[in-house]
């Protein structure tokens, strides 16, 4: 018999935030911001390592961060950092069973409303996700004001 097709969604399915509500969007943003911060960390190590090549090389590298593109990247890093931290705290608490609701008897027609009211898809979780997004947006605005301001 031929080998059965596994039909696993793979990375594309994992990274698709569009089908399962706000929680899946937060999951996607958490991964995206984590990867972004990792890329920034690698870039940051490369940038600061230029100091071993002398002051001229260091100053040249610093100039890169003083450009408009450099400021935009730093603004994005600020947003990713704040969202990743705030949402990460929500997820860490949830992993310990904090704020994920209390088991109850499901009622017909078993729609999502009960899980949204008392279950793990509850309003506290959603509120925390929105707060994380709002904090990231605020931090980015402040960052832009500092970086692009006079």
């Amino acid at each position: 018999m031929a080998e059965r097709m596994s039909n696993r969604e793979g990375l594309r399915g994992m990274a698709n935030p569009s089908r399962y509500g706000l929680e899946r969007v937060a999951y996607w943003l958490q991964r995206l911001s984590g990867l972004g911060l990792l890329a920034y960390l690698i870039g940051h190590i490369y940038e600061t390592s230029s100091i071993v090549n002398g002051k001229v090389a260091w100053d040249k590298m610093l100039e890169l961060t003083q450009t408009t593109q450099g400021h935009l990247i730093l603004t994005l890093v600020i947003g990713m950092c704040v969202f990743h931290t705030a949402n990460g705290i929500r997820v860490m608490l949830g992993h310990g069973g904090v704020g994920v609701g209390k088991p109850g008897q499901p009622e017909y027609p078993y729609d999502k409303s009960q899980r949204s009211a008392t279950g793990s898809l509850n309003y506290k979780q959603r509120l925390c996700i929105w707060v994380s997004i709002a904090l990231a947006a605020l931090a980015m605005m402040y960052g832009m004001a500092v970086l692009f301001g006079d």
């Binding site: 509500g21 899946r24 609701g101 088991p103 499901p106």
Partner: protein, 254 residues
């Protein structure tokens, strides 16, 4: 993905009040095909027609070779789980009228091997379910103990009741982002069942079960995306079960 279109109107009498939809069915035979294709059928529907009924209409009148697994037709057996317009759902529990679309696409559930067309292989999920020891573990029994039954308060029952509603349809595993990439992950179905027995105060197998799930492809691979709870057709909340279960391993719960 190739599309094979069958546009002939069904040669059967259909109620005058019927609307027609295009039902796109994913076709794949692991013995002859290298990748799935879509076949399109024009199907008469009424406001109460379910997706399963539409598929069965195709089987009966247009193409009997469409492979689909079903049994109870009332969301009790968990046989007819599939991707309906991109979302994992039970075909017997999804009305065409709820989908608000004249084109309905049905595909086999993701993260399960395809047997043929819409039928997928549940072997791994059932094996994982069995691995969770889905039964009460204790040394004595109703017969050997002093009492004839193990009494529980309504509060005791409520702790696990919703997780015993699981019909093993596999929709939660199909929507899980970890299952999408990790072939050895226990999955939300198995983990929720582990919680169902761990929290049952008649059970003494907590340590055994926690040991089974405390492994590299076990409970720690869940990242609380909540998609499993989003799609469950029976009101089970696997995401909650997994986080509460993790509380035992982290020492937040006794």
């Amino acid at each position: 993905m190739a599309v094979e279109t069958i546009s002939k109107t069904p040669e059967v009498s259909v109620p005058v009040s019927s609307d027609f939809i295009i039902l796109r069915i994913s076709r794949f035979n692991s013995e002859t095909d290298s990748s799935p294709t879509f076949a399109e059928f024009k199907v008469p529907v009424q406001k109460w027609t379910t997706v399963l009924e539409a598929i069965l209409f195709v089987k009966q009148n247009l193409d009997h070779s469409v492979a689909v697994r079903y049994s109870c037709r009332q969301a009790s057996c968990g046989s007819c789980g599939m991707q309906i317009n991109g979302k994992p759902s039970l075909a017997c529990y999804t009305k065409i009228s709820e989908l608000n679309s004249n084109i309905v696409t049905v595909e086999p559930m993701h993260n399960f091997p395809i047997i043929r067309d819409l039928a997928v292989d549940f072997k791994q999920m059932f094996a994982t379910h069995k691995k969770m020891k889905p039964y009460i573990i204790r040394k004595d029994s109703e017969i050997t103990s002093g009492t004839k039954e193990f009494l529980q308060t309504p509060e005791d029952v409520e702790k696990y009741l919703q997780f015993s509603y699981c019909i093993k349809c596999g929709l939660c595993n199909s929507s899980c982002p970890t299952m999408a990439t990790d072939t050895s992950f226990i999955g939300p179905q198995g983990l929720a069942q582990a919680y169902r027995y761990v929290v049952d105060n008649r059970d003494d197998g907590k340590k055994e079960r926690l040991k089974i799930i405390d492994q590299s492809h076990g409970i720690w691979r869940c990242h609380f995306a909540g998609s499993c709870s989003h799609v469950c057709p029976k009101g089970v909340d696997p995401a909650m079960a997994i986080q509460l279960l993790r509380g035992y391993l982290l020492g937040f719960r006794k």
